[in-house]
């Protein structure tokens, strides 16, 4: 095999990836071939193309095809060069400088320079535009263009994970002229630096992309066209894959996964991940303001059964912290197991010798939320706790319960770093402070870890933070899900990303068996 920069990147990605990927990557040794149309099934409409406004996985995918970021994440969650070739920080990790590639071009032929990067980040942070990425790109205080190819970020606090943070789904680079002019115009049109150009756009049916001949890597992308086809019915996605009408189903459910495992010409894809469904406590509302009550509930859970029931075995046990082996800087704590006697003792100590009754709210999407609520209801019965499960439409839930409620079900994708998930959900200044736990010692640890480059020390600090959460239980995290997908065997060099919202389709290629290669 010829070793060039691309194959080198792939092999390092494989080396850093989790052992789960190893077989998939080992198969991907052939030289990529060019041509064909890659047909991808997605389960929701691409309601907006605007990369700064996208909010769901199909929209992230469209934005990733059309636009680039400063960096991007490998399947091993490491930042690798995208528009930026290299980057470095000052000693205190508060100033980060990114050097852009030579000769970058937007799809309309105009040059992409540091001015566009500055304008894009300022737009992401500007409350006026309400970008969902506002809280995910790091503690940026100031961003400035040093010269046309150099951008300097000044941060309000040290942040070792900054190169991974700028790979966030919404942190795409768009032309400064659009931001100064008609920002909204990118909802249904596109002008990016990504590997593909927009060919046609029907939000609820089909989005077509064509290879960008001016992409910064002349070798990529390998396919001529990408088609995103909307299939709201999950069964129809799987049927179409089996019929060979599509090449890739980005995410499949466990029962469909099992159905596809034996199918001819189909490869199932699976990766361990930090994705979880959790039970949130409003830690400022009785009875959940008492840590003993929360711990008692945690002790009623049979986690092995929970993994089987929630994930059909495609997952691992959780330990009431949002981290697992899929994250960097992770060290496992002793596993919490069911202990009904201890749960009853804690409840009595907290003043509930006969248990208590509470309403647990679950939104109807995805259905797994209700499943968790019902499983917890049955397990908690043994300790005398009566849980009444109430399901409600997702929009109502977001409006009335989410981040406000006392006892409700959450569902989250894996984040790029431990800092990402802690700052998203659990610190006092979290973007979505679901539990109002507001633990000062915990906040201080997360803040401290941001300034540490040494992996061993960072692991120590995050382990302390995990211990605090494990002890105080602001949220029950009983199990983690593997992310599952499926593709045709004629599609190569695609590994399912543990983030579930990243796709890297510019590396994928189709061999001569693909029906779209013939034309």
């Amino acid at each position: 095999m010829r070793l060039n920069r691309r194959t080198f990147l792939l092999s390092t990605a494989a080396a850093t990836a989790l052992s789960v990927y190893a077989p998939a990557m080992a198969l991907a040794q052939a030289t990529p071939e060019k041509g064909g149309t890659l047909r991808v099934a997605i389960d929701q409409a691409v309601s907006v193309l605007h990369p700064l406004l996208s909010r769901v996985n199909p929209e992230y995918l469209a934005a990733e095809l059309l636009y680039s970021s400063l960096t991007r994440l490998t399947v091993g969650m490491q930042a690798e060069p995208d528009l930026a070739m290299e980057w470095n920080a000052n000693d205190t990790l508060t100033e980060w400088t990114f050097k852009l590639r030579d000769g970058l071009k937007f799809h309309d032929g105009s040059g992409c320079t540091s001015a566009d990067v500055v304008a894009s980040f300022e737009a992401i942070l500007d409350p006026k535009f309400a970008s969902p990425g506002k809280n995910n790109v790091g503690p940026i205080e100031k961003v400035e263009a040093v010269d046309p190819q150099t951008v300097k970020f000044t941060l309000s606090t040290p942040y070792a994970d900054f190169p991974a943070a700028v790979a966030y789904n919404n942190a795409r680079i768009i032309p400064a002229s659009v931001i100064a002019g008609n920002f909204e115009s990118l909802r249904s049109a596109a002008n990016g630096t990504g590997p593909f150009k927009l060919a046609s756009y029907e939000p609820d049916r089909l989005v077509v992309f064509e290879r960008n001949p001016d992409y910064y890597d002349p070798a990529r992308p390998y396919v001529d066209r990408v088609e995103l086809k909307v299939f709201p019915d999950l069964g129809a996605q799987v049927s179409s894959l089996m019929a060979g009408d599509i090449d890739l189903v980005a995410t499949v459910e466990p029962n469909d996964f099992m159905r596809l495992e034996g199918a001819d010409g189909v490869d199932t894809l699976r990766a361990a991940s930090g994705q979880f469904c959790n039970v949130n406590f409003g830690t400022d509302i009785a009875p959940f303001n008492d840590a003993r009550v929360r711990r008692a509930l945690a002790l009623t859970i049979d986690r092995e059964a929970m993994v089987d029931f929630m994930t059909e075995g495609f997952g691992i046990k959780g330990n009431d912290t949002p981290l697992n082996e899929s994250y960097s800087f992770f060290k496992a704590l002793p596993q919490r197991e069911a202990d009904i006697a201890e749960a009853r003792r804690l409840l009595a100590e907290a003043g509930f010798p006969d248990g208590f009754e509470a309403e647990l709210i679950a939104s109807d999407r995805p259905a797994i939320r209700t499943q968790l609520a019902i499983a917890l209801r049955e397990m908690a019965k043994e300790a005398g706790i009566t849980i009444n499960v109430r399901t409600m439409p997702h929009a109502t839930y977001l409006d009335q319960v989410w981040t406000k409620g006392a006892f409700y079900i959450g569902f989250y994708n894996m984040q790029p770093t431990p800092d990402g998930i802690f700052k998203l959900l659990f610190t006092s200044d979290a973007a979505w402070n679901e539990t109002r736990w507001n633990n000062k010692a915990f906040d201080a640890l997360i803040e401290e870890a941001r300034g540490i480059l040494d992996p061993v020390k960072r692991t120590e600090v995050y382990t302390k933070a995990q211990e605090l959460m494990h002890e105080d239980v602001p949220s029950l995290i009983p199990s983690f899900f593997d992310v599952l997908g499926a593709k045709r065997a004629w599609m190569h060099d695609y590994a399912i990303h543990p983030r579930a919202s990243m796709f890297r389709l510019d590396f994928a290629w189709l061999d001569a068996n693909s029906p779209t290669r013939a034309a």
């Binding site: 970008s131 969902p132 409006d399």
Partner: protein, 315 residues
Amino acid sequence: MSASYILKRIALIFYTLFIVSLLVFGITQVLPADAAVMMLGENATAEALEALRNSMGLNDPIWMQYLRWTGGVVQGDFGTSLRTGQPVGPALFSALGTSLTLAVFSLTFMLALALPMGVVAAIQRGKATDLFVSFLSYIGVALPEFVTATLAVLFIADWWGILPPAGYVPLSQNPVEGLRHLVLPVVVVSIIMIAHVSRMVRSELVDVLHTDYIRAAHLKGLSRGRILLRHGLRNALLPAITIVALDVGYLLGGVIVVEEIFSIPGIGRALMAAIQARDLPVIQAGVLIMAATYSIVNFAADLFYAWLDKRIQYD
């Protein structure tokens, strides 16, 4: 049929649509979701939300919002989708076009099968053919379209690989692929209607064939085929038209399920997606458009009825 009757009926359609507009607007107002939150998402600041509410007029009294909305609708402006930021009208009318394509093919297919089935069953009354047709139509009535759709996908697409299991290709883009993708949805939508209509045609035709004027026609020495078509079927068909018009109502509901399963971007799917995303302008406009379609089809059926049977006089 007088001109004043037609005018009265048209006025009635507008009255119906007015009531529907009040209902749908009222219902969407009490839905527990804030349109500004839906638009800006979870990370929106309070100031941004307030500014958007003001610019969208969400802080105005409800009657004012209603007047502004209906004022726009009358001028053909259905507002802007909260989900996509695009005008609602063009998107919904293009989706309606897709649904109507499906509906027209389904109605044609249904009539092409249901009429002969009903006629044959009536002529062969009590014989094996009649029983077989009755048996088939009982099965058709008993199976809801989400069951037949799933079975059709499983057998015809998954196992035998004859037809594509899902998706939609506009006929204008590629007629062959477009038709291939339409076959399964059309068959699924038609099954219940075939059952309804063939049973109706059979029972009406059986009644008609026992009337005195048919006996008179026989005695006059007319040919069997002529009696059946000119005298029998023409009279038996009238109630069938009513059933077909009512079935259009079913069609509008049934396509929601079928469009969802077969991934057809019609008005049913547009409504489903809008309801899930609490995209209020699309819900309001979609319901209004469906109500208008239903009213117009029933009106057309009444006119057709009068045209077929000159004895029917509306006034």
